[in-house]
Amino acid sequence: MMSTAALTRRAAPVLACLGLLAAWQVASLALKNDSFPTAIEAIRAIPDILGDKESLINILASLRRMALGFGAAVLISIPLGLLMGRSRSVAAFFNPLLMVIYPVPKAALMPIIMLWLGVGDITKTLVIFLGVSLPVIYHSFEGAKAVEEKMLWSGAAMGLSPAQRLVRIVLPAALPEILTGCRTGLVLALITMITSEMIARQSGAGNILFNALDMGQYDTVFAMIIIVGAMGICFDAIFEKVRARLVRWSEPQFDLPLSFS
């Protein structure tokens, strides 16, 4: 049986969502503005979008680009970040490069990339890739830098080569930090996905959203915002589950040491 406190904790997010929708509903009714549909109108439009084959193809195309961009970014950024964290010369080479790219909004690079690679999938995937890479590199770098020297020495004494130490000691030791970066990256992937489709409209969830905006279908616009938001929450929740499993050994509930010498 669940305690009252646990029940409240479980219900809190649901209550927060309902509260937000209620506030939206009230605000919309009070403002009586055509471009601000009520929450109920927006929610009613969701089944229409999800039931439409064309829209689904668009959304799936977005998700595929997002998965590709995110996957490629993680695969390249983690090794790079770890190398930077363990080798001063690698860090000295890449750090200034990344410092220049970091503050630039990745979508701002898109017109240039479009000139080179066209308005198709490659450009959009590349923009997502760039958006995800930096936080993942940064967190992998910080994580690798923080790995205790003595832990590496212990591995070296057991006969692990430098490459083995990177994969079998630095990688697992830095994993909690790396996954923090990946989590940020995942949200950024969703954001850059939509932004890229805003700039180069052709297909995708962003395409539906901005086309609806052009045609004054405001209920569809807001319905898409809800859908994108829900996708973000789902991805994050799934990722959090995976993350918690992978780094169970570093979770704070393990922090209480037993009283024993």
Binding site: E148, S154, A173, F260
Partner: protein, 281 residues
Amino acid sequence: MTAVPARSSERVRPVTSREPASAIIEIDRVSQVFQTSARKDHIALSDISLTIEEGAFVSILGPSGCGKSTLLYIVGGFVSPTSGAARMKGQAITGPGPDRGPVFQEFALFPWKTVLGNVMYGPRQQGVRSTEAEAQSRALIEMVGLKGYENFYPKELSGGMKQRVALARTLAYHPEVLLMDEPFGALDAHTRTRLQNDLLNIWERDRKTVLFVTHSVDEAVFLSDKVVMMSKSPGRIREVIDIDLPRPRRRSELLLDPRYQKYVVDIERMFDESDEAGFAL
């Protein structure tokens, strides 16, 4: 926790009748200089020569900053000396290797591995089959008094337990020399005493060569065959003292033994004198 069982006394070789020991580690005119800033060098070790005999328990004793840990890291191959050389069985030490097993004050366990996973890591790396490595590791975990904790993660353990795991993890790959870097320095007094007793019991069973860095005079005298006293800035060997106390040693007997007390007092006095000399400068 069960205490480590005392080894049968007939297996113990008394110190006095030990066969002529051969040198296992030679430290030959080793100096270590760290560049602290562009203009200033810090001489951590100055012209250290020391021979460690096989099967001996040797402590390096000195104040913090005397370079005693650095000396241990040089023997471990983790740090290269600025000049001079360290040799293991006549071979120049160029890097870490499984013949020299470190145990650090910081424990340095792999936090993503369980106790068993940590202890098995070395043997698995050496190519020991999984079932065999596990059996050996379980026996070692029992020997260090942690039976029942095989599936715990390091984060769930207290400092003393972590250091027991670290010791078992190093013993698991059968190093010829144990390099212990202030292993009990981060533990409370009670836990430290228990670990000293248990380490001595374990050591007196197979008499591995141990190089043990500490700043505690009692600890050094209680454990060692030989105490190497170091002074600081620059780190130099001040005195090498043979501790001629019978083994197996028991704390309760030893603390009452006037010979033990004399060693402790003499060594402390020597450190005090060098401190005063330092003031005079």
